[in-house]
Symmetry: C3
Subunit: 348 residues, 3 copies
């Protein structure tokens, strides 16, 4: 499996400084600088951590030209490193067979080179595109379409009528298309609103383990192309997430919210319903957006209730000092009273 | 599938203003006012959003009497709308057969018209009532009882000895009756406390995808009739949720808490253990109740640690200004010092 | 099933005060003091709650010597109580058979006395140790090793190459080894970083329902011996949790964090990435640790952003009064202005 630095340099269109016949046997992270391995360093400070280690070579930006080990200069070292990881660890190959232990309804349409593992289920009128994989325990409900080269890991549920694109990855435990949380109070009990819409997941989306994307009340909940969602995330009915947006673990988005493209929601963020968040927005960890909040393109928000970062940092700073400030205020109150008394006396 | 306004008006006991032969082909939301569809508007402001659209008719409160399209006046327009949604989208019918790919223990009792989908499991001495549905990948463990007309969606686990009522809906990935989180530290390690109680879920409860309800240490964790729980919610051992209470996504309730009837817990709320929350209480999103908190009937709480809404709104307002306040205080401190110096000088 | 107090006293090496032939038929909690049952009271205050009830006997610390019912004195009453619960409720026995409805790859190695329930899956080169249980719907992926006497409850996924120790309990819906959440932005889209590491779960770990432990990007995510994790917890790629640490429900730990031994993370705590938390640390509910936070051994933290408990309690106290403080400051500002005017007049 070892490759020469020459081969690797070609693969990522880099510029090699050092012996091009150096053998590389693995790709690693900076924390594990094992012998024979290549990793990346984005700057001199990180590169210094590799001094005196067994690392065999390092991917660096073009600004770095010298080191005790061979270097490959590239525009984006971390991206080049990810490409090398793929070169050493090609994507898992599935067996492209329909297990005799799978349940496939006669009305379902199964493409070529599809893998259906044991105890997977494909129901009435569902379609699974070429090269896609439905792993054990996953349920593709009736009228669902799955594009091509999509991987549905073990124990995923896609409820009826939902659409999953191509090159999508759904991790184990994901639930797509469960009923949105909609009721009308009739004076005595919560009356269920039928959830008659669906979920549309576009191409190149990846969704982490045990995340849930609810179907729309009417219309569609839409996850646009290239969105990446981490584990244990909740996306409610009728939400729309713009292309290439990133949603970290345990985020919860209430009903009818929209988020633009290239935005980032950090861990445990919560949205009230009907929020409208623009493009290239960043929302910090554990921040909370109240119902109906509108967030312009390019904003960075922190805190709960969330505010623009600069304001919130000042607020956090002031809150840090709030016990101390309270003391100062009490002291000032006494001194002002003192002053008032003195002046009163003068006037008398 | 089209129905006349006359039919629909009868169905919901409303009062029609306009042509009773108008054909209605679908029920929609105000955001998607498609041709041939009916929706609802709770007030003039929302009704105005439908001006000039293709909407065919609108459900309105009795106070609204005029519009460019036919109106049906009703006491509760949203409730009437939900009823019309059911009329156009009847509940899914399952095939009422026991799949040959289901596993049913010989000692289990299966009612009439039950659906057991492929790869569902019903174990020793479990009972599934008439008309109930156990979808693929769901496990009904030994001694569990499931009432009638209950729908257990794909990949639900109900651990041994738990009781599920009638007309219950459990969404995909729900886990009922896993062990409560109980250990005793013995000086070196956490010694597991056996969790020998169960979970009781009463009639008309609905639980969202991937939520977890732990069994009691001893006795029962109880979810009373009509409770609605959203996705990714955690209810710990020995909790009790009162009838018709609503629990939004990602709420976490620690052990031995009780919540009364008709209360609402918004998204990502957290409770420490042994909290006692009354009836008709509202807890705002991301609020946190400390261990042992007692909350009277009718309270509205916000924030973490949670406080009554009015107080917390003032606190949030003051916190918003806290950086500015800090500046004012520092400025006052200087000015007071100045004043003190001046007065000292006078006295000398 | 009834046992005499004499037998029970021997079992836990306690000292009996009262009739050693008293029959005990069950073990209960202090909230349910039923007839014939034994429970524990850690102090006089709790013991008083049992006065006049039907309780048959009580486990107490050595400092308590008198009560209306028989007592067993022990060093740790709650621990003794947990031992008695096990005596009355032995661990569930599984049938130690390989279901004909299980899927076992011919290259897998299955130990003796293993239970494989219907619709469980054990794939290529996986190993399941003696006495372990793989319940229905669980997937043990290729090259996974499971130690001995481990219980994998229904619907658990262990992705390829992960290692599960002995005497481990994984509750329903747990996902071990899904891909870490790693991408590099290439200017247009998020490029996936292959996640080529694994997860190692050591002996005596218990993980709650629907929790997720991601595989490492390279190397291993490690859960050390005796760690206890509650429901709906997220542990990201390359984290390391020290032995006997306790992680409560809905905690989220970002990538490359470490936590020491015997620490406790309360419910809904969130960590940014690369946090380093020491031994015997306690982090309070809903607290948030910012990226890279270092926490010394023995710390107690509260709040978001988290601070040492003593400081944070003062901060919470000051925040509680912040609306009132704001009023005081505004009043002081007016009074200082008044004073300044008066002095100005004097000077003129």
């Amino acid at each position: 499996m070892a490759k020469t630095l020459s081969e690797l340099t070609n693969l990522i269109s880099g510029k090699l400084i050092g012996d091009d016949q150096t053998a590389i046997s693995s790709v690693t992270t900076i924390e594990i600088p094992q012998s024979g391995a290549i990793t990346f360093a984005n700057d001199e400070k990180n590169l210094a951590k590799l001094q005196g280690t067994d690392i065999a070579a390092v991917l660096v930006p073009e600004s770095i030209t010298e080191f005790e080990k061979p270097l490959i200069q590239v525009a984006n070292p971390k991206l080049a490193w990810a490409h090398l990881l793929w070169a050493f660890h090609p994507a898992r190959e599935f067996d492209q067979t329909i297990s005799e232990n799978a349940f496939v309804h006669p009305s379902a349409t199964i493409g070529s080179n599809v893998t259906l593992e044991p105890f997977s289920v494909v129901r009435e009128n569902a379609k699974v595109g070429d090269g896609s994989v439905i792993r054990s325990g996953s349920i593709i409900d009736k009228n669902v379409t799955v594009g091509s080269n999509t991987i549905i890991h073990p124990r995923v549920t896609v409820y009826q009528d939902c659409q999953i694109g191509s090159n999508v990855i759904l991790h184990s435990g994901v639930v797509v298309g469960a009923d949105g949380f909609g009721y009308v109070f009739d004076g005595q009990r919560q009356f269920k609103v039928p959830q008659v819409g669906n979920v549309i997941i576009e191409d190149h989306v990846e969704i982490g383990a045990n995340s849930t994307i609810d179907r729309a009340t009417a219309g569609s909940t839409v996850i646009h192309a290239g969105v990446k969602i981490d584990n244990l995330v909740q996306i409610a009915h009728n939400c729309e997430l713009g292309s290439h947006t990133v949603v970290c673990a345990q985020v919860g988005i209430s009903g009818s919210c929209s988020v633009g493209q290239y935005s980032t929601l950090a861990g445990q963020v919560g949205f009230g319903d009907h929020c409208e968040v623009g493009n290239q927005v960043i929302v910090g960890a554990q921040a909370g957006l109240p119902t109906g909040k509108k967030v312009p393109d390019g904003s960075i928000l922190l805190g709960s209730p969330a505010r623009p970062m600069a304001d919130m940092k000042k607020q956090f700073g002031a809150q840090l000092r709030s016990a101390e400030t309270l003391k100062v205020v009490r002291d000032l109150a006494k001194r002002v009273e003192e002053l008032e008394k003195k002046l009163d006396k003068q006037e008398v």
